[in-house]
Each structure stands twice: as structure tokens, then as C-alpha cells.
Point group: C2
Chain length 144, copies 2
DNA sequence: CTGTATCCTTAGGGATACTG
DNA sequence: CAGTATCCCTAAGGATACAG
């Protein structure tokens, strides 16, 4: 499943080529905010992604350099996916998206407190989340 | 062509429901940055949008309250589309997207100067563009 | 657990013709 | 000019079964 060829050099178009579909940003969201890292964890997205779609998007994300796939040395059958710096740089976009939705979606689940913090100290929060993402707390062995 | 039903209350999902496809943000881009307002002007997007897709997305954008359709009183056959406040609030998202692409796309057409200005004075630029959008310069009659 | 493989259905989208 | 209406094809995506 190869990338369609670029139709313009517009930066908006470039971005949409990377994540302008219904699922990619939801995967990024789960990696970024929900601490999900393995295939099975990502499968649990509340929106119900299909196995083939998840596999396909993970390949694309890796090809695009937004995600890297790492193997646990101790658990040869378990991989984990992690955002690269390029992926982490999607954070400001995500934050703006969340703010926009919080403003216009009456049903949004973004907590008032989170959005208020966002608005007030976006820069600091970005740095904070960024470092948390770069060096995530080492996790115990995956639960069976 | 009705909206698929919401699968979650996640703000990211809400946003993707509004513009998580290949074309919607390109239309917003043309309304926002390129001064395009009529159907025919929007058809000239460099990426080559089809007439049926453009018509469909404009309906959706209007349903979602992101765009309003106005008729020229003098030119009964010509409409113009304009961003609503909700649509204008997409500006910060667009700016972050442009910055991200400018950083990672070697072919991007975003000018260095524009991106540098963005980075340095995003807040001021946002206000400036915003007011330019709310009260756009009144234009001459559309060219034949 | 981490995916592949298949099957099948629908939605997205290109091309083109046509209408008020 | 501003769209509709078709036609037709491909990609996207759901469901489920299977494999290393």
C-alpha cells in the first residue's frame, strides 16, 4: 500500500498526506496521551479500529518516520511503538485540535481543567509532555 | 450523504469527524490564505478537486457551521463562501500544521520568511489574519 | 500476543456530461 | 457561473478466521 504521489508542494497537503485520514491521528493520540504502546493496547481505541487498518497505519507511520517499532528483548513476540521526535512534534497540532473541539463540541470529553491548563500554560505543558514522552517511565512486563 | 454517527466523545475524534479527510482542510486553506471565495475559485485548488467532491464538502462545512454561503445580491447566480468564527478558529491548527510541514518536508512551498514570522509572532499574526478574515476587503465584481 | 489473510461492502473520488 | 447527475473504479474499512 504505497503513498499516492504528491499533488502539490503545499505544506497543508504534505501534512494531510501523512495524517489526513480517519485513523492516523487517533493512533497518535493513544501513543501521546494514553500511554498505549503495543499493538494490542492500540487495538483498544474506543473508536474500534480494525486489525488490518491498525497494522496498515502503523506501517505508514513508521515509513513516514513518525513512529518507531521496537522489540522487547525479553519478549520476542511483543513490539512497542514509540513516537519519534517528528511524531512528538505533532503535539502542538494535537493541542490546538483539542482546544478547538473543546470549544465547539458540547459532548467533548476533554476535561475543563485540562483545557484551562492548556490555554494558560501551553508552552510549559508542551515541554513537560515532551520530556515525559521522550523518556517514558520504564514499564513492568506486559500483563498477560 | 450524512455524517457517520459519533463513535466516542474524544475531542480528537470530533475534530476528525469535521475535517479528517483528504480535502476539507485544503478548502479551508484556500478560504483562509488564498482569498478564494466562490465555487469556481475553489475548484482551482492546485490538487485538482472534483466538482462533486467540492460540492459535497461545502455542504458539510456549512452543516458543521464552519462556512457560510452568501449570495451576491447583484449577481444572483454567484455565491461566495466565507469562514464563520468557528472556521476562523481553525487558524491556530493550520499554523501549527504549516510549521510542522515546513520543518519536515524538504519540498514544502511555505516560504522561509512566512514560517519565521509564524514562529516569532504567531499570536500577533493570528489576530491580524483573523481581523482580515472577518472583514475582508470588499472585492470588485467577479471577473468573467 | 502480534499480526496476516480473506472476504465483502461501502464510501471516496475521478471524469465527464449536463442543467438552470 | 454554479452547481447536479452519472458512471465507474479504487481505496477504505469492517468482520472474522488463521498463523508464527
Amino acid at each position: 500500500m504505497r503513498h499516492r504521489q504528491r499533488k502539490s508542494d503545499c505544506p497543508v497537503h504534505f501534512a494531510l498526506d501523512a495524517f489526513g485520514d480517519a485513523w492516523t491521528l487517533l493512533i497518535v493520540r493513544d501513543l501521546m496521551f494514553k500511554g498505549r504502546a503495543t499493538y494490542t493496547e492500540l487495538l483498544r481505541a474506543e473508536e474500534g479500529i480494525a486489525t488490518n487498518i491498525l497494522a496498515d497505519r502503523l506501517v505508514r507511520l513508521e515509513e513516514d518516520g513518525i513512529v518507531v517499532k521496537e522489540r522487547y528483548s525479553e519478549h520476542p513476540n511483543t513490539s512497542r511503538y514509540r513516537l519519534t521526535p517528528k511524531g512528538i512534534d505533532l503535539l502542538p497540532i494535537m493541542l490546538e485540535i483539542i482546544q478547538w473541539s473543546a470549544k465547539y463540541d458540547p459532548r467533548t470529553a476533554a476535561s475543563r481543567e485540562f483545557v484551562t491548563r492548556l490555554r494558560a500554560e501551553k508552552a510549559r505543558l508542551t515541554t513537560e509532555l515532551r520530556s515525559a514522552l521522550v523518556a517514558p517511565p520504564e514499564r513492568e512486563r506486559p500483563r498477560p
